[in-house]
């Protein structure tokens, strides 16, 4: 693939790569220009744009440990605790620019999780995955294409293991091994950024056991490979993206990342793109690492998004004359407290990161899980407070067409006006931005993105050192039994 440097390169590359995508029951001819996708493309494009700006390059770029070249940080393998912290700072920065999801962290985290894990698979099984993976890493660092981290399988009956499902395709699997590669069948659900990416890295969705070998597969697959079909997920108010009016709220960047169901109907993958094939003993490690690296992010990206929610709520209050009311100021303070709390979690798990045997650095897994778990609560609370500050008008605003209407527009202008000197349209714009960021799909993403809350609580049980805490308590209580 031609190296992607600018936003224009990125958009052109999406146009050039023909991927089978369905949106609302229809095939998409040109994904680079589809109004349902353009806001998500703009968000991802910010990662390319900001990397070229001297005032942001310190976060947006890094030096490749393989080639010494300056690369996008989204293709970098963390070489220090400082790199882990910069990742979080970078995410907060981009959230300030987009107030949305820019999608590239998933592939970024897949690359880092695989770097550590393929190294250890090779140590134990004398395989050559790490060497293959380094070659792939060098390619993505050079070409700077966008990679989906494809983890979540549909999973069917959750009480059954992959090999016990009535339909064996409900977990993505190898259906054939050939001398030149493998054939993949199955699907990956909720794939963030898939419709505007170039490749997908499929990963096992959970720990596996003997008998599940066909499901223990990692492979990098171009999204235009024969047999791949993408079905875009419906989002809250997505028809407003097509209108491109102020009713969209975040007109340029949309809501969350744009998720798709990615289906693999007997897709061939050559061996040089396969990085795990049957090593069930490493599926749990890989999943845990990917999850930790991904949960590390959320105080950065959602912390940055929370900053915009705080700002929008304050503007909404100012426009209706309530900004100086003590209870409004207190709610804004509480929102700020929650935003900084989630951010501090991401910084903390990064600061306590450590070096893996591969040389790559890895965040503290307990603190990373704690960070994401706080997101499942605090973003809801921040949004609840924003709704409180904004008032019921947030849910009852008329259409922007009503405001522009030659006959009734004057009524909207007159009766929805707040303070003098601020137009009704300005007030509506900030209320629509708040609506976009604090409801529907945006909230659900905070709950389930990077794993549902229960998956973090399972990690607390594993990593929470309960026996050690019981021992310490027993010692202080002078219990001798």
């Amino acid at each position: 693939m031609k190296k992607i440097v600018t936003k224009e390169d990125y958009v052109q590359s999406l146009k050039d790569q023909k991927v089978v995508i369905y949106y609302n029951g229809r095939p998409v001819e040109d994904r680079s220009a589809h109004p349902g996708f353009v806001p998500h493309i703009n968000s991802a494009a910010k990662t390319y744009e900001l990397a070229l700006m001297p005032e942001y390059e310190d976060l947006m770029t890094a030096r490749s440990h393989l080639t010494g070249k300056k690369i996008s940080r989204f293709t970098h393998i963390h070489q220090s605790v400082g790199d882990l912290i910069k990742k979080v700072q970078m995410l907060r920065l981009i959230s300030h620019e987009t107030a949305s999801c820019y999608q590239r962290c998933v592939g970024f985290d897949a690359l880092n999780a695989l770097y550590m894990t393929t190294y250890e698979i090779d140590e134990k099984h004398k395989t050559t995955y790490f060497q293959r993976f380094e070659a792939y890493l060098e390619k993505i660092q050079e070409e700077n294409f966008m990679l989906v981290g494809g983890m979540t399988d549909p999973k069917g009956d959750r009480s059954k293991r992959p090999s016990e499902q009535a339909d064996p395709d409900l977990f993505t699997r190898i259906v054939e091994k050939r001398t030149d590669g493998v054939v993949i069948r199955g699907a990956k659900a909720h794939q963030t950024g898939a419709v505007n990416s170039h490749e997908i890295m499929i990963l096992p969705t959970q720990a596996m056991a003997a008998g599940d070998e066909a499901y223990a597969v990692v492979a990098a697959i171009p999204l235009d490979a024969p047999g791949i079909t993408l079905i875009f997920g419906r989002q809250t108010n997505e028809e407003r993206k097509v209108e491109a009016s102020i009713d969209a709220g975040n007109v340029d960047f949309g809501m969350v990342g744009g998720e798709a169901l990615v289906i693999f109907e007997d897709v061939f993958v050559p061996w040089e793109r396969v990085f795990m094939c049957g090593e069930v003993d490493f599926c749990g490690t890989l999943v845990e690492r990917f999850a930790t690296l991904h949960r590390q992010n959320y105080g950065g990206c959602k912390g940055g998004i929370a900053d915009i929610i705080v700002g929008a709520a304050a503007l909404a209050a100012r426009y209706q004359g309530t900004l100086n009311a003590s209870h409004i100021k207190d709610k804004l303070v509480e929102m700020t407290h929650l935003a900084e709390t989630v951010y501090s979690g991401s910084v903390a798990c990064s600061a306590l990161g450590s070096k893996t045997r591969s040389g790559a650095y890895y965040p503290d897994p307990l603190l990373a899980n704690c960070t994401k778990h706080n997101i499942t609560r605090h973003i809801y609370e921040i949004s609840r407070l924003a709704h409180d500050v904004a008032g019921g008008i947030l849910a009852t605003l008329p259409f922007s067409r009503d405001l522009k209407h030659p006959e009734i527009g004057r009524h909207v202008e007159k009766y929805l006006k707040g303070i003098q000197g601020v137009s009704t349209e300005t007030r509506m714009k900030v209320l629509r931005l708040l609506e976009n960021m604090t409801g529907g799909t945006a909230l659900v993403e905070s709950m389930h993105g990077a794993g549902s809350p229960q998956s973090q609580r399972v990690m607390y049980q594993r990593l929470g050192k309960l026996p050690e805490k019981m021992r310490m308590a027993g010692k202080l209580a002078k219990i001798n039994e």
Binding site: P54, E55, R92, H96
Partner: protein, 92 residues
Amino acid sequence: MKTVALKYCGGCDCTYDRLAYAKRLLGAAEGRIRWVTLDDEGFDTILMIHGCPAACPEEKLDPCHPWRLVSVTDDSAVPEEIITKLTARGEK
């Protein structure tokens, strides 16, 4: 004309408008300073414009290198005073 390398921090959560300040400073230094980047050569002085007192990029600089480093962490510094520091010779 003095050659100075200009370096910004990453800008994760700035406490002031770095670009507006840099514009003022670069405007005031016009004709007296030639600006380059850290990737270039021929400079012995670096102006670091940080968004906050954490001053992250300074950690990456080689402490043994004889660069003269001038840091800005807020917009209270008068541009002319910064330019004087940048163009002065023989002082750290």
